[in-house]
C-alpha cells in the first residue's frame, strides 16, 4: 500500500508540473494559432517566437494583488479557485500515457474521471456565488445547467465505448484497440466520438459553448471578480480540463498510446495535441451559441442520439456475444 501511495504522490507532483508546463505551452499555442487565424503574428516579443510570453503572463498574474469584493464570502471565494484546480489533477491519475505508464491502475478509471469532472462545475458555482456579483451569479447558473446537461450525453457516449471494450479500465480499453487507425474505437463508434467531442466542448466551457463566461453578455461570467492568481487558477483549470477531455478522447476513441513506429507516449501526446488544436480552431472561428440553443442541442439531439447509440451498441455487443462466442 505505501508503494501505491508513493506512486500516487510522485505522479501527482509530476502531473502538476506537467499540467503547468503544458498549460503554458497551450496558452502560447492558442495565442499563436489565434494570431495566425486572424492574420497577425501573435506573441513574438518575449523569448524566441514569443515562447516565454505565457511565462511572463503567469508571473504577472502571480505578482498581482488579490482583490476580493466587499461583500463576498471570503471562505468560498478563495476555496473556489483551489477547488477548481485540485480535482483536475486527480483526473490525470488513471490516464495511461504509455504502455504501463500510469499512476493508478484501477478498474473503474473511466468512472473516476467522470465523477471528478463534476467538481469543476461545482467550484465554478461556488466561485460564482461567493463573489456577490450578478454577472458571476448568472454565469454560475449557466454553469449548473450546462454541466448537468452535457455530462449525460458524454457519459452515454463513453459507456458505449466501454460496452465495446468490455472494461472500465482505461489501459484495458487502449489495449483492446490496435496499432492502426482502423483498429481504433472511433471506427466502430463514430457517433459516440462526435457526441463526446461536442459534449466535451460543453463540459469545458469552450467556444462555441463558452456561455458561463460569455464575455459580451456577462463580462467574464463566473470569474468576473477574480483577479491575479484567483483568475489564473480558473484559467489554468480550463486548459487542464481541455487536456483531460482530449486525453480521455484519445484513450477511448483514438487508440491511446497505440501507433506505428513512434514510441507510445509520443503518440499519445500527438493525438491529444491534435484534439486540443481542434478545440482552439473552434474557438477562433465560430460565434457563440445562445443559451437555449445550447440546451436544445443537448437535450434534443445529443441525448437521444447518445441513448440510441448506446442501445444499439448494447444490442450488437450482446448479439455478437451469442452469435460468435458461443
Amino acid at each position: 500500500m505505501p508503494t501505491e501511495l508513493i506512486r500516487i504522490l510522485i505522479s501527482l507532483v509530476a502531473f502538476a508540473a506537467a499540467v503547468g508546463l503544458i498549460a503554458l505551452v497551450m496558452v502560447w499555442v492558442e495565442r499563436k494559432v489565434c494570431g495566425h487565424i486572424q492574420r497577425r503574428p501573435g506573441p513574438y516579443e518575449v523569448g524566441p517566437w514569443g515562447l516565454l510570453q505565457p511565462l511572463a503572463d503567469a508571473l504577472k498574474l502571480m505578482g498581482k494583488q488579490l482583490v476580493m469584493p466587499d461583500q463576498a464570502d471570503p471562505f468560498l471565494y478563495w476555496l473556489a479557485p483551489i477547488l477548481v484546480f485540485v480535482p483536475v489533477l486527480l483526473l490525470y491519475l488513471p490516464l495511461p500515457v504509455g504502455d504501463g505508464l500510469y499512476a493508478l491502475d484501477i478498474n473503474l478509471g473511466v468512472l473516476l474521471i467522470i465523477a471528478f469532472a463534476g467538481f469543476t462545475g461545482l467550484s465554478m458555482i461556488l466561485g460564482g456565488w461567493a463573489q456577490n456579483n450578478k454577472y458571476a451569479l448568472l454565469g454560475a447558473a449557466r454553469t449548473v445547467s450546462q454541466s448537468v446537461a452535457y455530462e449525460i450525453p458524454m457519459l452515454l457516449s463513453v459507456l458505449a465505448v466501454c460496452f465495446v471494450s468490455g472494461s472500465l479500465n482505461m489501459a484495458a480499453v487502449v489495449k483492446e484497440q490496435g496499432t492502426w487507425p482502423w483498429n481504433w474505437n472511433v471506427m466502430t463508434q463514430p457517433l459516440a466520438f462526435v457526441i463526446y467531442i461536442v459534449s466535451a466542448l460543453g463540459e469545458t466551457n469552450r467556444a462555441p459553448f463558452d456561455l458561463p463566461e460569455a464575455e459580451s453578455e456577462l463580462t467574464a461570467g463566473y470569474h468576473t471578480e477574480y483577479s491575479g492568481m484567483g483568475f489564473g487558477m480558473f484559467f489554468l483549470a480550463e486548459y487542464a480540463n481541455m487536456i483531460v477531455v482530449a486525453s480521455v478522447a484519445t484513450v477511448l476513441f483514438l487508440g491511446g498510446w497505440q501507433g506505428p513506429v513512434l514510441p507510445g507516449p509520443l503518440w499519445f501526446l500527438l493525438k491529444v495535441s491534435l484534439l486540443v488544436l481542434l478545440f482552439v480552431f473552434f474557438r477562433w472561428t465560430y460565434p457563440r451559441v445562445r443559451f437555449d440553443q445550447l440546451l436544445n442541442i443537448n437535450w434534443k439531439w445529443l441525448m437521444p442520439l447518445a441513448v440510441a447509440n448506446l442501445a444499439l451498441t448494447a444490442f450488437f455487443v450482446k448479439v455478437a456475444q451469442y452469435a460468435f462466442v458461443k
Binding site: L137, T219, Y286, P287, R290
Partner: protein, 388 residues
C-alpha cells in the same frame, strides 16, 4: 440574492432606483454598462431579468454627453466643423456633410462639381469603414472573435486612403463651407481604384465564412423583429428601417449633392430581424463601392472649394433651415437657426443612433439576455453620437 438585497446595493444611483421602482417580485435587476463589453463604449442598459429573460430594459445614456449644441452657440460656423468629426467617430464625414450642407443651404452657397464628387467618394468610403467597424464589433458581440481582425484590416486600407486628403483617420473635419479642404490627388485616386476590386473580393469571402455560418444564422434570424410600425413610432432610419422593409434612404428620397446622377440600389430586407439589418449593411458596402466607382468615372476636373469661400469669421446669414444626409446609421439631420450674428443661434443635431436606440426598450421586452445583446448590436450604436 433577493430583490431587496439588490435594492440595498443599487441604492444611491438615481436611474437604478427609478428603474427598480417598477420591478416585479423576484426579478433580478442587472446593470449592463456603462463599462461592458457589448455596449461599445459607455452605454448603460438597466435590465430586469427573470432568469435569462429580459422583462424590461431601459437604456441610460449621457455618459459621453459633451453638449455639442451648446458649443455651437459659442463658435462660428467654420469653427464648428471639427465638432462634427467628433459626434460620430464611425461615420464622421457624413456629420461634416450634414452641418456644412445646412450652412450652404441657408447661405445659398453653390459647391463646385468636383467638390461634390469628392464629397461623395470620401463619404462613401467612410460609410464602408463604418459598416466594417459595425460588422467586426457585432460579431464580437455574438462571440466570434476573428472577423473584427479582418474588418479592421480592410478598414485600415480605407483610413490610409482617407488620411492623405483629410489629414485624419477617425475624427475627420474635411469638409469646408463651399467645398472640401483638399482635392484628391492622383495617388489617392489610384489607391481608391485599387481598393474597390480588393473590397469586392473580400465581401463574398465574408459571406461564405461568416454570414452563412449556421451558428450566426441561428443567433440573428428571427431575433429582434421590428415591425415597420415600430420603426415609424420611434423614427428609426438607416439600415434599421431598411432592414424592416422600409425603402427609405435620404440619398435617394431627399436627394442632395450628385446622388441623383449616380446609379445605386437602396437595399432592403423584408425579414425585419437582426438578419435583415445585417444583410442590408453587407449589401450597402457593395453599393457604396459602386457609387465610388461611378463617381471616379464621372468626376470632372476643377476646383474643390468655391471661389471666395467663407473665412472662419464668416457669419451665417439670418434664417433657419433643416438639412439631412444619410449616415452609416441612418438619417443625420441638422436644424440650423442663425440670427446673423458671429455665432449660430441654435444648432439642433438629429442623430440616427439616438432614435434607433430609443426603440430598444420596447423591442427587447421578453427576449433572452443574449438576444438583447444581439439586438443592441444590430442597431449599430455609436455612443458619442447618441449622447452628442
Amino acid at each position: 440574492m433577493t430583490r431587496n438585497a439588490d435594492m440595498e446595493q443599487v441604492a444611491g444611483d438615481f436611474y437604478a432606483e427609478n428603474f427598480a421602482k417598477d420591478a416585479s417580485e423576484g426579478s433580478l435587476i442587472l446593470n449592463l454598462g456603462p463599462q461592458h463589453p457589448s455596449t461599445h463604449g459607455v452605454l448603460r442598459v438597466l435590465v430586469e431579468l427573470d432568469g435569462e429573460y429580459v422583462l424590461r430594459a431601459e437604456p441610460v445614456i449621457g455618459y459621453l454627453h459633451r453638449m455639442h449644441e451648446k458649443m455651437a452657440e459659442v463658435k462660428t460656423a467654420a469653427q464648428y466643423i471639427p465638432n462634427m468629426g467628433r459626434v460620430d467617430y464611425g461615420h464622421a464625414i457624413a456629420w461634416n456633410w450634414a452641418f456644412v450642407g445646412a450652412v450652404e443651404r441657408l447661405a445659398g452657397i453653390e459647391v463646385p462639381p468636383r467638390a461634390e464628387y469628392v464629397r461623395v467618394i470620401t463619404c462613401e468610403l467612410n460609410r464602408i469603414a463604418s459598416h466594417l467597424l459595425w460588422w467586426g464589433a457585432y460579431l464580437l458581440d455574438l462571440g466570434a472573435f476573428t472577423p473584427i481582425m479582418y474588418a479592421f484590416d480592410d478598414r485600415e486600407k480605407i483610413l490610409d486612403i482617407l488620411q492623405s486628403p483629410t489629414g485624419a483617420r477617425l475624427t475627420f473635419s474635411y469638409f469646408r463651407i463651399g467645398g472640401v479642404a483638399r482635392d484628391l490627388d492622383e495617388d489617392c485616386v489610384k489607391a481608391i481604384r485599387e481598393f474597390i476590386p480588393w473590397m469586392r473580393s473580400r465581401l463574398p469571402m465574408y459571406k461564405e465564412f461568416v454570414s452563412d455560418n449556421i451558428i450566426l444564422r441561428r443567433r440573428i434570424e428571427g431575433v429582434g423583429v421590428f415591425e415597420p410600425d415600430l420603426c415609424r413610432r420611434y423614427g428609426a432610419t438607416g439600415p434599421v428601417s431598411r432592414g424592416s422593409g422600409l425603402a427609405y434612404d435620404v440619398r435617394r428620397d431627399e436627394p442632395y449633392s450628385v446622388y441623383p446622377k449616380l446609379d445605386f440600389v437602396v437595399p432592403t430586407s423584408d425579414l425585419m430581424d437582426a438578419r435583415g439589418r445585417y444583410d442590408v449593411r453587407m449589401e450597402e458596402m457593395a453599393q457604396s463601392l459602386n457609387i465610388i466607382e461611378s463617381c471616379l468615372d464621372q468626376m470632372p476636373e476643377g476646383d474643390t472649394l468655391v471661389k471666395g469661400a467663407p473665412k472662419p469669421s464668416w457669419k451665417v446669414p439670418k434664417g433657419e433651415t433643416y438639412f439631412a444626409v444619410e449616415g452609416g446609421r441612418g438619417k443625420i439631420g441638422v436644424h440650423l437657426v442663425s440670427d446673423g450674428g458671429k455665432n449660430m443661434y441654435r444648432v439642433k443635431l438629429r442623430s440616427p443612433s439616438y432614435s434607433n436606440l430609443s426603440l430598444f426598450a420596447e423591442a427587447s421586452r421578453g427576449t433572452l439576455l443574449a438576444d438583447a445583446v444581439a439586438i443592441l448590436g444590430s442597431l449599430d450604436l455609436i455612443i458619442p453620437e447618441i449622447d452628442r
